[in-house]
């Protein structure tokens, strides 16, 4: 191997950082060159990040989503993945300015967590492991995206309602597409997280003999699911749209963050990755 995994991570985070700086610059001065530069940096960062994951997979023998360091980075990786899909399909102005800071923050958090590759505990040595965790983080990434899109919606709606059309008005996309995307992302995230909970339950049944054990992570995942079920409900049945749903999806993401990080740092859970990561 030419690069040690550690360098791949540093390089990836460097490119994400560059991409974030460029994407924030875009808020003040948007040109095609700037967006291309941002996309290129993000793509290079993503490639390096993926290589890092492969390298860790080869040396550890399991999907690199077991330690908190790996999981946080994987969360960021999923966000970028969804971001690239959206970028290809919709090309929303300024989306990156709201996404890249999130990605970088997660990577930064990941970078300060212990990175050692340890043997996987016997409990986690199961084919459910990869499926369960990937689904959960892809779901979380969709919620993160819905959060970003929700903020964009609120800013753009504020412009339209207040009739002050300076600022980001010209470069932010129309509110209809933002609202539509919010719905799609929340639905996607909800389905993925629901599947993650189901696979988790099946896994727990086969490994521990019980579907549900009221572990804090399980409880908070259920709360997250309920919050998003509520968002989908009010949208589909009560005709809520736009601003209210955007605010709800921002609140929803706060719950997601707590379920992911809060539970691990504050509560005692069997879902705590490698226990010694957290002190």
């Amino acid at each position: 191997m030419i690069f040690k995994p550690i360098y791949l991570f540093e390089l990836a985070i460097t490119f994400y950082f560059a991409s974030m700086i460029v994407s924030v610059t875009e808020i003040f001065r948007g040109t095609k060159t700037i967006s291309k530069l941002m996309i290129s940096f993000a793509a290079i960062g993503f490639a390096l990040h993926t290589s890092n994951m492969i390298a860790r997979y080869i040396s550890g023998g399991y999907l690199p989503i077991a330690s908190l360091h790996e999981a946080t980075a994987f969360f960021a990786w999923c966000i970028i993945l969804i971001f690239f899909f959206l970028e290809l399909r919709y090309q929303l102005g300024l989306l990156s300015s709201f996404v890249m800071p999130m990605v970088f923050a997660l990577m930064l958090l990941s970078s300060v967590l212990p990175r050692s590759i340890k043997p996987l505990p016997p409990l986690l040595q199961s084919s459910w492991f990869g499926v369960h965790i990937s689904l959960a983080f892809l779901g979380n990434a969709a919620f993160a995206m819905a959060f970003g899109v929700g903020i964009m919606y609120l800013i753009q709606e504020k412009h339209l309602k207040s009739k002050h059309l300076g600022g980001l008005f010209k470069r932010l996309p129309n509110i209809q597409v933002l609202d539509h995307l919010n719905y799609r992302l929340v639905s996607l995230g909800f389905s993925l997280l629901a599947l993650a909970v189901i696979t988790g339950a099946l896994w727990a049944q086969s490994a521990l003999g019980a579907y549900w054990r009221w572990d804090p992570k399980e409880v908070w995942s259920l709360i997250t699911l309920l919050v998003y079920a509520l968002i989908l409900h009010v949208r589909l049945n009560s005709g809520w749209r736009g601003r209210k749903v955007a605010i709800l999806s921002i609140i929803g993401f706060m719950v997601v963050l707590f379920t992911f990080l809060g539970v691990n740092f504050l509560l005692d859970s069997s879902h705590s990755f490698f226990r010694e990561d957290i002190k």
Partner: protein, 421 residues
């Protein structure tokens, strides 16, 4: 070789004069021919639009040419010279370069940043070019003007925003709805501005247009114009469940649409966003309607405010554009200077002198020690050869000739005077 611009535009002449002086398409060719038959004029382009008539020329004697061109305009359009002179402006040298760059970049337009002028300028140039009425100076200048305009367009946001009420409405609709071709609009009442807004929405690709007018026959007539459908005025409130954009201009003295009504409509619409444009004075839609979620109400003042913001942005962008123009004028000036005979003669002489010195040193190195007389003879020989070879081009360059610019360009090219070796 001197650049001379004579013309009139919306700043110097009122519409009546501009109309009289405009060159109709079929008159352009004889006009250009007429112009170039004047002996001081070597190249000419005529730009004639509804806001400006301008003649760009390359002339020998500026004062005489100016007089001759003014005479030509007066003769061609049968207008009294004295009256004409008052409306005409004249730009020379740097000012002329700057003027043409500013016109191309739409900095001189009535609505700064409007895009048509560049196309009109290109057409005028191509017309003259195809009839061989332009030469080295105007070709270079106009090509440069076009590229300056493109640079202004890409580097500044001068042409980005709507500056009329009806366009501002379309611009807003595009920020509320994702794809206007899936949206339906309704025109409530009629009025010049409202109809214009409806027309702009149609050209922006709106799916269909409904017209509700108090006079049903008038509504039918308008609907016919818009390829839309008419409905009775009393029915408009029921229709609001299905339309996404409402342009309201009824001339009623009180509100025709209240907050409670719109609230009910929004329930039926399941909160799908609706864009209400109230162009009536006094207002026809209760301003409180804007407080409802997913309802976007803009009245005339709001739209005026949008335009003001846009105009402000344009003005800020125009300042950037002026800086670009200034920079490009300086670059063009230095190119023009290179066309001047004197620096070319000097450059030619310097080049020859360098060759002479170099070859003399080589020769003396080979010969070793020579007698003073031999040295003198060799030096004179080298001198004479250089002088005699340079004499004819120098004389040609110093003579005033019609095609001097071509000659200078040619000499600079064949002696590679612009390349540093």
């Amino acid at each position: 070789m001197n650049l001379l611009v004579i013309g009139l535009n919306h700043k110097t002449a009122d519409l009546e004069v501009r109309e009289n002086i405009a060159f109709a398409d079929d008159k352009l060719e004889p006009a250009l021919k007429d112009l170039l038959s004047i002996e001081y004029i070597h190249e000419a382009i005529i730009l004639s639009t509804c806001n400006r008539v301008e003649i760009y020329t390359n002339v020998d004697n500026q004062d005489r040419a100016e007089d001759a061109i003014k005479d030509f305009i007066s003769r061609f359009h049968c207008i009294d010279r004295v009256a004409l002179d008052r409306s005409l402006f004249v730009c020379k040298k740097d000012e002329a370069i700057q003027h043409i760059f500013r016109v191309a970049s739409s900095l001189d337009s009535m609505v700064v940043g409007e895009p048509q002028i560049l196309g009109q300028l290109k057409d005028a140039y191509e017309f003259a070019l195809n009839r061989k009425k332009t030469g080295i100076l105007l070709n270079k200048l106009l090509n440069k003007a076009i590229s300056v305009a493109k640079r202004v367009r890409t580097e500044t946001r001068i042409a980005e925003n709507a500056v009329s009420i009806s366009f501002a409405a379309v611009e807003l609709a595009r920020k509320i709805f994702d794809d206007l071709s899936t949206n339906t609009a309704m025109l409530l009442g009629a009025g010049e501005m409202a109809e214009l807004a409806a027309r702009h929405l149609i050209s922006a690709g709106i799916k269909s247009m409904r017209v509700a007018n108090r006079t049903y026959s008038r509504g039918l007539e308008l609907a016919g114009q818009f390829c839309g459908t008419a409905l009775r005025f009393e029915d408009f409130i029921n229709e609001m469940e299905y339309v996404d954009i409402v342009i309201c201009s009824t001339g009623a003295s009180s509100y025709v649409l209240t907050k409670t009504q719109v609230k009910d409509v929004m329930k039926l619409r399941k909160n799908r966003p609706i864009f209400l444009i109230d162009i009536s004075v006094p207002r026809n839609i209760d301003p409180l309607v804007n407080e409802l979620d997913n309802v976007y109400l803009y009245d005339v003042d709001d739209l005026q405010g949008v335009i003001e913001t846009n105009l402000e942005q344009r003005r800020a962008e125009a300042a950037k554009a002026e800086a670009i123009v200034k920079e490009e004028v300086a670059a063009f000036k230095s190119w023009m200077a290179s066309l001047d005979a004197v620096p070319t003669v000097i450059a030619l002489r310097e080049r020859a002198e360098a060759v002479r010195q170099e070859e003399l040193v080589k020769a003396f190195n080979k010969l070793g020690v020579v007698e003073a007389r031999t040295e003198q003879v060799i030096k004179t020989l080298a001198n004479n050869i250089v002088n005699k070879l340079l004499h004819p081009p120098t004389v040609s360059l110093r003579t005033e000739a019609a095609d001097k610019d071509v000659l200078i360009e040619l000499i600079r090219k064949i002696y590679r005077l612009d390349n540093d070796e």
